[in-house]
Each structure stands twice: as structure tokens, then as C-alpha cells.
Symmetry: C2
Amino acid sequence: TDAAARQRALARQGMLTKPSGSLGRLETLAVDLCAMQGHDHPVIDQVAITVFAGDHGVCDEGVSAFPQAVTGQMIANFANGGAAISAMARELGASLEVVNLGTATPLEGQLEGVRHRPIAPGTANLMRQSAMTEDQVSAALQAGDAAAGRAADAGAHLFIAGDMGIGNTTSAAALACALLGEAPEALVGPGTGLDAEGLSHKAAVVVRALQRHGGHRDPLTALQSLGGLEIAAITGAIMGAAQRRIPVLVDGFIVSTAALVAVRQQPQVREWLLFGHRSAEPGHQRVLDALEATPLLDLGMRLGEGSGAAIAVPLLRSACALHNGMATFDDAGVSNRA
Amino acid sequence: TDAAARQRALARQGMLTKPSGSLGRLETLAVDLCAMQGHDHPVIDQVAITVFAGDHGVCDEGVSAFPQAVTGQMIANFANGGAAISAMARELGASLEVVNLGTATPLEGQLEGVRHRPIAPGTANLMRQSAMTEDQVSAALQAGDAAAGRAADAGAHLFIAGDMGIGNTTSAAALACALLGEAPEALVGPGTGLDAEGLSHKAAVVVRALQRHGGHRDPLTALQSLGGLEIAAITGAIMGAAQRRIPVLVDGFIVSTAALVAVRQQPQVREWLLFGHRSAEPGHQRVLDALEATPLLDLGMRLGEGSGAAIAVPLLRSACALHNGMATFDDAGVSNRA
């Protein structure tokens, strides 16, 4: 990011007609965006959202409150404009595309805005074998990178990755445990709505998965063993956006875990990341801590799809509007403090 | 508010294509707005912002980091579009008016969007006498009510009150102490940026003010003794908006203290209040606790002008977009949990 633009932005924030620091995180956001975008008037007009979808073999172990068919059904719901992220994309004037990396149930009919890049009909069951082959994880990373490339070609000022995959909090929890060396109890949560018994079973599944694949602190090996097709694609998309100098607004537990893989693999990715919200999924906080991230919002959301990032977009736009639109003390003839 | 509309909204939230509860506070916000607006499709299109400005006699005691002339200078800055709330009103497509209740320094020239309703050239010094006379506090309450009336006439879906008045955190801290029976140390903060010595002096001023006027737990008497012209007007505006069934999005420490006066005077006002943000001014949390309020944002802001409420408006709009725009499980053909 651009250190000179950051310095100019900091100086401007000190001259605007307000007590210094009184806009709190909106000031640091504006300064960060100036540094990322490399100029003095940050802009978040064009927002590109890509939802990555894929199924999870670990659903065989009964780890989700919802049936696996929902992954495919939700891809159709995205295409038809009925999902939360669809409504938010309309509200924001953002572009929305879906990349289907492979579902357990075949999808029927043409779906607008859906790119079919099926790598497998879901991952293998990570409790019993590696979730992906090396070729599969490569293909997923590449599909993510291609989405970042399309965002760059479209002139996106901001990239948001979303996730859809029944069972993916199990995969993300196992992956985060492997990367962070944490115990499953710290990272396994209710996902879409498990009760206490379901939660305990899910934790046991993650324990067995870590026994099989644990100790893989290498990020891409852990991703292959324990991740998901959509999680790998999100990792690729985040690395691709950062390489193309596009700020990334990170969503909740799944996307943050993919971001952790990306940052462990390429530490310079971190400076392109902003964090939209703290998820109600309890493992998210550990992943945020590992990324030294303080998200903008804490509204008890736990939906995925990129929704918690989309909700935060207007805060970035407001930070830009204030940075670009306020008068300075000199211009306005307002006295500064003594 | 409308209990039947609330029940219908709750039922709809349970049918939308997401795990129940997974949109967190955006769900309760949408339900609250349905109940306030009394129908099934909540709307926050027309937002009316009124900034109330007035000077404070207690500035004679040296309680602010900024000179008193800034109140009048900022009124001109609002009119010229250079203040934070000006930039946010443009960003939101909200209407912005300023009501000048009286400044210590005369204002020069015509100022667009400013209504001059001078009651006095600032309040009297609350450390030495009552800040306002009974007639003055009545006139200020009435000026606030008139602003709520204009918002209703304009068809506002949401009302935001903002404050401008150098010295007003001293007044608000004293007023909140009187209403809550708290000690000044709990409610006095740095305002626009006092250092430790300034803070200690400000607390001593509040102690003396409470010795003189303390024990006035009656809200309007406390308001007259310790409040400000703009604080009284905000109290009147909040009561007036609630009476006209307009939801109010409450800003930070000053506006929340005015809201506390309003709720103590008319408890039914409370159900029309939403809270935009938690201010960095430390006394705000105590006032929020007394109002049993959990604000939407916590971004370290402490500017006033209604800015912390304005920043939260897109969250309300997003809650509406999700409630109105998402498909149900039945419509989308998505399986719900077993």
C-alpha cells in the first residue's frame, strides 16, 4: 500500500472541521483506503461480490442442522435474487456472481449469474480421508483467482467473497484448529443451529479429523486435508484480489478462515484486508485474533454468503464521504483548538 | 407501536431463507420498524435530520478544548455543507436543517437551511445560577417539537436530532448526574479533547453545579437548571417525534441525555427510540444503561451533530431490504431444517 498517500490522508484528517480523532474508526478506515487505493480521494462505488459454493463430504457424519441439498437449492436462490446476499447486493448496487465448485445434488436448469466450475460433487469426508486432492485444491484456488481477475477487469473498488456450503463450519473449524494449534472446543460452534448434543458430536468429528490430518501447519496442506472447495476458492480469490491491489472486505468465520490460509501463505495479503463483522459463531473471534483484526460490526449475525461484509459496505462509503466531503478548518473559517 | 404488525414481522423472519436468527440484530431491527410503522414492509427512505445549536454559559469556567465562537462558526459550516453531518446527509439523501437557539457571538449573513430561533445568547452559567428560565426551557422544548412537526409534514420515516454547542458535554454530564443520581466522575469525560488537568477541572465544575442544583430528580426541573438550549430542544423534538409516531435514531452522549429527559417525562417515548452508536465519551454508557439501550455501532466516534446516528442509517435500510426482499423457504423451494 502507498505510504505517501497514507501520510497525506492522515494530515487531511487532522485539518477537517472536527476534533481530532472524533470520527473514530471512520478516520482510520479512510486513511487505510487512501493507502490501498494510492490516492487522496478514496472511493467505494463499484463493489464486486462473489459467492463460492460447494458441498462437504463430512455431512455424512451428520454435522449440520440443514440437509445437504440446501447448498444447491441456495445456488438457485442466489440466481433468483431471494437470498440475503441477493437483497444486499441490490441495496448496495453491487455486482453479484456465484461460482459453483461442485454440489452433491445436480443443479437443474439455467441459473442467471451462476458460473459452473464443478471440481467434484463436494469434498471427500475429511474425517476419513483428505477432503481434496492436490489437483482439486489447485483448481479451486485458481477458480477463486479468476473471480478476483473479473473484479479487477470490472474496475471494482472493493471485493467481497461469500460462502455457501452445508457443513462448512465443520471444515473451517478443523482447518482453523490445524493452523492455530487450537483445540476443537475453542473453534467448533453451532453453525446453522445445532443443539448441545449436535455440537458435541460435531466437536468429536473435528477431533477425529485432526487426529488423522493434524500437525499440518503448512497452510495449503491443511487446506487440502480439511478445507472445502469453496473455502479454497475464497483463499484464491483473496490472494488474487490483494495481488491486484483491490481492498477485500472480509465476512465471517468461513471467509476469515480462508483469509487466514491466504495470509499464512502470503503475509503481504494482510494489508489489503478490512473486516466487516464479528460473527456469532464462536470460533470467529480466535481467527480474528490470529489475523490481528477488529471488525467494524458486531450484530450477532452468523449467516455467511458474504452478508456480514455487505452490511458493512456503507461504513466504508461513509468514511469516504466524510474524508472527501468535509471542509477544513481554514476553508470553513472555523477556529481550531488552542 | 403495533403489536399485530410485530407478530406478522416475527413470523415472516422465521420463513425467510436463512437459519432462524442468523441475521442477528438486523432481524430485531426489521421487526421493531414494522411495529413502529404499523405495516409489513418497513421503509427508511425519507430521513429528516435536525441539528440544534446553542451556546453554554458554563464556558466561562474554561470547560472546553475549543473556543465558544466555534458554535456559531459551525452553524455556518453546516449551512455551507462542510461539516461531518452535512457530508453524511448528502451521502444518505437525507434532509438537513439547523435550528439556532442562540449563540454567544452574533451570526453574520444569510445561512441556507438555518432556522434562527434565538432564545438567549447562550444559557446562563449553570455553576452559578439556573442555566435557563422556565420560559426559556419551554420555548426550547417547543422549538424542538416544531422540528418534529416539520419532519412529520415531510413524510419522514426516521428522525435524527443532532447537537452543536461548545461546552455541552459539561451540561449533559451534570444533567445526567442529576437524573441518575450518579457522581460526576462517572459521567464527565474529555468532550472535544480535554487533557487530564482539564478533565479534573470540568469534574469540579460539575460537582459545584450539582451542589447548587442537585436533588432535582424531576426531569424538566433538572433540564432547566443544568441543560442547554439545544439539549432542551432535542428533548422536545424526541417527544414530538414519538407523539407523531416517527421512529427516532438516537445519536451519542448529548442526544441520549436529552432522550433520557424525554423518557423520564413521558415513558412511552422509549418504544420509538433506536440507538445508533456508543460514543467514546465515557458517560454515554451510563445513559444507555439507564435507557436499557444497546446501540448498533461502536466505532469510537465522539463528534455529535447527529453523526453517530447518521452513520447507522444504512443498517436500518439494510434491515428493511432484507425483510422485504428475501424469499421464503416455500417460495424459493429451499429445504428448512428437519
